[in-house]
Symmetry: C2
Subunit: 327 residues, 2 copies
């Protein structure tokens, strides 16, 4: 991507051009050339959108719920960005379901911007570029950003920590309370929603969640509300959005938003520094040649990964490597 | 942990002392002092255990299945290590269920070693120390290591990539095929198991999985088998272990084991180097002071995370920082 293209895309985004926004998101998601410039240029425009992470087990009806929440936002005159995160597919290399298949009702609404992302497997680096995609949407000017993730794992915890509020979606079929606790969902929810609440067991699940929340300490004075919804017909989604707005207001009033913002800036700077250092080290020819030799040596039993790491460190940081070996 | 303690623990582990093994695992899991020495010393003893990752949605009966698989191993005269990974609980700071609650039938068997681990939230670094815990068990001399994880996310993908074989456990209630695909389970399974197979829909799920696997390319000539089990009464677990053993044999015959081993050595060396560099950078007083100043500056709108990262890089790598700013 040429600098000229980037600067023209940025200008068009500032003028509200959706296609420029989509293109910029693709660049940022792929970490293509120009990514840093884009995020740096857009930075002053960020910080206005309310970012909501939506998570829960597969089959809880998250997509439909997100669709209905988006419609609630729209009916209040607000614009919405939707980011759906799918696990990596090493086969397809991308999201399993396309944007068009999801949420047909919203796809033609100019006040709604929908984007599917794949997560990335493998070690090292951030698992997804969700935060950066949300950053572009934020700069584009949407009022709400709804980030939908499948399942609960490291990716979801990271996404939760990047959102202002986390909504946990459960269904009566989600199983007994121990399963819910084991899945780590109690810990990350700011607002809970029992979806498909016309089914048997819904009230029992609401009570079980409330009981578990009462056992935990209330975090900084916020007791997560539990809302019953039926996303297919829209029951309860208005109340759900109201509860989420309350949580946002609570964050603002309690100064937590400032604290979260600063800790997210800190994490971002650290990650940027580490990513650059990683790139610089492993693209050095001498380092990568040495690494290949050391892999063979360890494989054949002539060294261990720990001694090999010392040798690489000796290459990239002569002083540090020395010090370690002398210990 | 003193060097003397470590060296005595290592000696006792080599003599087959379970308590020394447990203690060494704790040190390695906490990354306490002595960790590198322990893993380095034990390295020549590793590489004999067959590592199986077991994953699937909450409520699929993984714990019971692992228990039955372990009993199968025992009935063939093999020893077993079991590692159960739970999501982080910021409240409890540890695993939700203790080792004793899980698998009561195995807890008193001297041929079985059970360990629960919590995953760790937050950015940067490996999410769990599962691989290292397995390394110690491997050096201790167990024949099989069964690693059980909840849900599917980044952690699970990392664990799958560290295991020799990945077993995906589903139940008829796991929902329709799109849900299974969305959860990213098709991609990581070397062997599939439909548990609770006496329930309605089991055969349909088996057929759906087989159909989806046939749609994908067969990876390197291995077509993942689908086995029906009923873990509560042990039905099918013998066949399941036989299929896993076949996958292990296939890996050995096809030389894939060598390739996997080398790529895992490479990843480990890289991670060790990066972890050391991260620690060295962020514990420097000048860097951490500068970072705090920059966080405030970015928060107040006087800079962006990208420019701030350049400044930190200028501190830790004077040349690299220069080059970037001149661009």
């Amino acid at each position: 991507v040429s600098a000229l293209t980037v600067s023209s895309l940025l200008e068009r985004l500032r003028a509200g051009d959706r296609r420029a926004c989509a293109r910029l998101i693709s660049i940022v998601e792929d970490e293509a050339e120009g990514t840093t410039e884009i995020l740096n240029e857009l930075y002053p425009l960020m910080g206005r959108a309310y970012r909501i992470g939506i998570t829960g087990p597969p089959g809880a009806g998250k997509s439909t719920l997100v669709e209905k929440l988006a419609q609630e936002c729209r009916s209040r005159g607000k614009t919405v960005g939707i980011v759906a995160v799918d696990p990596t597919s090493p086969f397809s290399g991308g999201a399993v379901l396309g944007d068009r298949v999801r949420m047909p009702a919203l796809f033609t609404d100019p006040g709604v911007f929908i984007r599917s992302m794949a997560t990335r497997g493998g070690m090292g680096g951030l698992a997804t570029r969700t935060k950066e995609v949300c950053d572009v949407l934020d700069a584009f000017g949407v009022d709400y950003i709804l980030v939908e993730t499948v399942g609960v794992g490291q990716v979801e915890l990271d996404i939760a920590s990047a959102a202002h509020s986390t909504l946990v979606v459960l269904v009566p079929e989600s199983g007994d309370s121990i399963q819910v606790m084991k899945a780590g969902l109690m810990e990350i929810g700011d607002v809970f929603c029992v979806n498909k609440s016309d089914r048997q067991g819904a009230d029992r699940l609401v009570m079980a969640i409330q009981a578990m929340l009462e056992l935990k300490q209330v975090r900084n004075g916020w007791m997560p509300p539990v809302v019953k919804t039926s996303a297919t017909d829209g029951t309860g989604t208005g109340e759900l959005l109201a509860r989420l707005d309350e949580h946002r207001k609570y964050l603002g009033d309690s100064n937590l938003l400032v604290a979260r913002r600063k800790s997210s800036i800190r994490a971002e700077i650290r990650e940027l520094v580490e990513a650059r250092l990683r790139r610089e080290i492993w693209t050095r020819t001498d380092v990568s040649d040495e690494l290949s030799l050391l892999v063979e040596k360890v494989f054949e039993g002539g060294s261990t990964p720990y001694r090999a790491a010392d040798e690489i460190l000796g290459l990239v940081q002569p002083d540090a490597g020395q010090e370690v070996r002398e210990k």
